[in-house]
Amino acid sequence: MEAFLQHLLNGLLLGGTYALLGIGLTLIFGLMNVVNFAHGEFYTLGAYLTFAAASLLRVNFVLAIAVAILGGSLLGALCERVLLRPLRGESIDTTMLVMIGLWIATQNGELLAWGGVAKSIPHPFPTAPIVIGPVSVAPLRLFVLAAVLVLIAGSHVLIHRTRLGVAMRATFQDRETAALMGIDVGGIHTLTFAFGSGLAAAAGALLGPIFLVYPSMGDLAALKAFSVVILGGLGNFAGATLGGVILGIAEELGAGYVSSGYRDAVGFVIIILVLLVRPSGLFARAGRVG
């Protein structure tokens, strides 16, 4: 039972970051019909920006994470304006190929800039774990869990409670009519891509200090993000959140009770099962977006 609670806590932490990745990817797909193969690169970017700020510039740790999120968002906005906006109206395959190109280019760019040796991000938290009843958790992980929860809650409020969120959902549902209402659809696209990229960068910035930072770290993250989106249903915000948590907990339980070598396999077995049984995702309602 103690081991189970410990796995559950670790799974929640991992799942929260998966949810951040998945929410970004699902919003970008749902709104813009873009399959963002470069999504994992924003995760990598978030981790490297945190490393650069915290380790090289010696910026305060929390501020370094904020810088990484902001940097990811700005670069996301730039990508949308430069790469995707001129391709509006092109087929989904075209934008997918462009995003694959961006993925390869940025990953090799990171390799060139930082070298292939993994970096570790310094953090100010004590390494001695805090023991709460049957479970023990490193203070850094507790901080990451709290940050993830705040970011997910904040995203929820943005999408469901604000004027901008209403416009985003309206644009999801009917782009032409949204324009008739006076909504700047292009601007909504830029903001959504920036927002999704910022969340991916946040996931990288938060997991980077727990694990290591290296140029290809985004590949597995992108795979997880796609898994989460498939689990939750394309374009479904709540689905991506729950899908992320489910995937994280399942992986952690699989790693704990089967073998840690099977951690990633557990996740993908679940994806295969979901695709066989409920191909439109666990939480899909017909045509639901937002």
Binding site: R163, V166, A167, R169, A170, Q173, D174, E176, T177, A178, A179, L180, M181, G182, I183, D184, G287, R288, V289, G290
Partner: protein, 233 residues
């Protein structure tokens, strides 16, 4: 108030409008008749900026508006209530209305929303419901209410009666008449030619991307060609 001068527009190589000229005066209710594919919807979309004119001029309140995008045209005071109602199905009734006022800021929006609810009590009852769960007639009320939320001086209606039950058609036409009586100018595309001509001041008939006939609505009601082509003999 609104003038189109030899406006041409199209999609790809298809030419949907071939030199359309028409005018709507302040306070008028003008209706645009024609068969499917004649270019009525494209005419409205060209006015509201969803389709860009290839040539010709569109003037609204003395200012050229062709070439402006749809959001800018809403800001100038033209609302477009699109064919098939196109309410946002997963937004609540209230969110739909709020989106209608997207171009505006300030406290008056709440008062305008109350006014819409007063005109359409059923919408008030369902304000927290997703718009997709409303009946066709209720969705049409919502689409009209949403268009009014931008405080337009001119409203374009595209097939407001399409797909509605007969009682809902009556109600919808009644609402459009009221809108016009409160001083808002209306340009309407309608396949129910009889109903449209009975409430309109003037009408234009379109065929194959051109205006082929225009006149006072009551004259067109008795026009032999209109009778045969659009009023079922």
């Amino acid at each position: 108030m609104l003038t189109l001068e030899s406006v041409s527009a199209g999609y790809g190589r298809v030419e949907a409008l071939r030199g359309v000229s028409l005018g709507v005066r302040r306070g008028e209710l003008v209706c645009l008749l024609g068969a499917n594919g004649a270019g009525k919807t494209t005419t409205l979309k060209t006015i509201s900026g969803l389709v860009q004119a290839r040539s010709g001029r569109i003037v609204f309140d003395g200012e050229e508006i062709h070439g402006l995008d749809a959001p800018e045209i809403v800001r100038r005071g033209i609302a477009h209530c699109p064919e098939g109602r196109r309410v946002f199905p997963f937004l609540t009734v209230e969110e739909n209305l709020r989106i209608g006022a997207w171009t505006r800021r300030g406290a008056e929006i709440a008062a305008d929303m109350d006014r819409v609810y007063a005109s359409f009590p059923i919408l008030s009852e369902r304000r927290r419901q997703p718009a997709g769960t409303l009946s066709g007639g209720e969705q049409q009320m919502l689409a009209i209410g949403r268009a009014l939320m931008s405080r337009p001086r001119l409203i374009l209606f595209d097939e407001p009666s399409l797909g509605l039950a007969p009682t809902a058609v009556e109600i919808t036409f009644g609402i459009i008449k009221e809108i016009r009586e409160t001083g808002t100018t209306v340009l309407m595309v309608e396949q129910n030619a009889y109903g449209a001509l009975r409430m309109a001041d003037r009408a234009y008939v379109m065929e194959a991307g051109r205006i082929t006939l225009d006149g006072a609505a009551r004259d067109l009601l008795h026009d032999a060609h209109v009778k045969q082509a659009y009023l079922g003999g």
